[in-house]
């Protein structure tokens, strides 16, 4: 995507710590790996494998960079977007963006053998594009055809691919090897992208990308502020939230085949049973 080269200096707060920023950039270049625990500590090894984040030091640096970019550009823009446009307008934009994503959702419904959901996606697209005036109104939801999302990362998971090491992507945020591949495939599998390109409406694709970013960011302003404020380790909170959320999305919200609740299983590490709770690992 082409971008203007206008200086963004005016967007940078004066008090920003440039030394830190440079140090961060240097660390990014020297990208480090997480230290592996000693093999004689099996619990630590198990934990290391479960976290599956060998690039943690680099990932943390990328998160810092993302947050910096967010501070100077994305968040102010999202605040502006929300300030300028009333809620119904933003809802309409969101509906239209979702509608334009339908082909990707449909493709992945089909690839996962979810015929009923594929049918829903098709019907939603037909109804919302016509009666919903180009997707601005989600008429289909009112008719009982609820929206759902799918992506190629989920398809890969359904096909049996593991998630691979955790990744913090520049700009895109939390991900993993599988979902990063999925993201790339999804970006190439939307026919609207090619359609707009072919008829010379490249601006439509840029607008769509930009609005998608603004839409998502504007809906999460307070939430992220709060998460940042109340979490003890923001990076690890994001990593874990992302992982659990994806697992749930892959199962389309149904309990897993081995239906163990994703929740708390009490395991008291002093090994003594307690009356009031149940032991299980």
């Amino acid at each position: 995507m082409k971008r203007g080269r206008t200086s963004m200096k005016f967007l940078i707060p004066n008090n920003y710590n440039w030394t830190k920023c440079l140090a961060v950039a240097a660390m990014l270049v020297l990208s480090a790996c997480a230290t592996q625990p000693p093999a004689n500590d099996p619990e630590a090894v198990a934990e290391y494998n479960e976290i599956n984040d060998p690039l943690e030091p680099t990932n943390r640096v990328i998160l810092e960079a993302n947050l910096f970019f967010d501070d100077i550009l994305l968040k102010p823009l999202a605040q502006g977007y929300r300030f300028v446009l009333p809620e119904p307008a933003r809802d309409g934009i969101r509906n239209a963006l979702d509608n334009l994503r339908s082909p990707v959702i449909l493709l992945n419904d089909l690839l996962q053998g979810e015929w009923e959901r594929a049918f829903q996606t098709t019907m939603r697209f037909c109804i919302n594009t016509t009666i919903g005036i180009g997707g601005l109104f989600d008429v289909a939801s009112d008719l009982g055809l609820k929206s759902h999302d799918e992506d190629f990362g989920q398809t890969l998971a359904v096909w049996g691919a593991g998630e691979g090491p955790f990744l913090m992507l520049p700009l895109f945020g939390p991900s993993n090897i599988r979902d990063a591949v999925g993201l790339a495939v999804d970006s190439f599998s939307n026919p609207f992208t090619y359609y707009f390109d072919n008829i010379g409406y490249e601006w439509a694709n840029y607008t769509r990308t930009g609005l998608t970013a603004l839409d998502k960011r504007s809906r999460n302003i307070e939430l992220l502020e709060e998460l940042e404020k109340t979490s003890l380790d923001f990076y690890s909170a994001l990593r874990n939230l992302y992982r659990q959320r994806r697992a749930d999305e892959i199962l389309n919200g149904q309990p897993g085949a081995n239906t163990t609740a994703p929740g708390v299983t009490f395991q008291f590490d002093d090994g003594k049973p307690r009356n009031e709770t149940l032991l299980k690992n």
Binding site: I51, N220, E222, L223, Q244, G263, D269
Partner: protein, 207 residues
């Protein structure tokens, strides 16, 4: 930050709100014949009380009472500390549990005002033989329509009633999330339990 803020985040806020609601200040344990009824009672009381006009410190104290009566706070705190519980001294355990409770109370207390007429509808329950607990399914429905939020409550029998041991919002377990976060803090602090105690004290000083 990240341009594509995954739906992961929207549920976190809801989770905080739900839990805040669930505690917003009713009094007494909800004695209940079934886990579904227990959750239903909890939600009703919470909603009734949220609509009351009380000063914040009073709400916080009611919240704390409800938390201790209807949630297995010590069990959750222990679960969240994970394998580091074993390494902790008695004094550290006691201090940690006290701070953990404060941390929950103060994180959620900020959301008391978030209630906008949502209703919690219990939709059923299923046994989770692996952990011996019951998962109570529910959805939180906003008054204006909107997408309902799926919330599962993991409850265990306690005396004549039940206790919540985890809240799972759209597939995200609050207990598991905190456990992983606490472990990360401790690991980065060289595996010392005092790191998490210091971190909790620090965050409590400004939330």
């Amino acid at each position: 930050m990240d341009i594509v803020l995954r739906p992961a985040f929207s549920l976190f806020r809801t989770a905080m709100m739900v839990v805040a609601l669930a505690f917003a200040g009713a009094s007494g344990t909800a004695a209940a014949a079934s886990p579904e009824q227990f959750i239903d009672n909890l939600a009703r009381q919470a909603i009734a009380v949220t609509s009351q006009n009380l000063p914040q410190p009073q709400k916080i104290e009611q919240f704390r009472t409800l938390l201790n009566q209807n949630f297995n706070v010590q069990g959750i705190g222990q679960f969240v500390l994970g394998r580091y519980w074993r390494a902790a001294t008695d004094a550290e355990r006691a201090e940690y549990l006290r701070l953990f409770e404060d941390y929950i109370v103060h994180s959620y207390a900020k959301r008391f005002d978030a209630y906008q007429g949502e209703q919690l509808k219990v939709s059923g329950s299923r046994q989770d033989p692996a952990s011996g607990s019951v998962m109570v399914g529910s959805v939180l429905q906003a008054p204006g329509g909107g997408e309902p939020v799926r919330i599962d409550w993991q409850v265990q029998p306690a005396g004549s009633s039940y206790q919540v041991v985890d809240v799972v919002v759209e597939g995200v377990s609050m207990g598991v999330t905190q456990r992983s976060e606490f472990a990360s803090v401790i690991r980065r602090g060289g595996g010392k339990v005092e790191t998490i105690i210091a971190a909790l004290k620090k965050i409590l000083s400004h939330i």
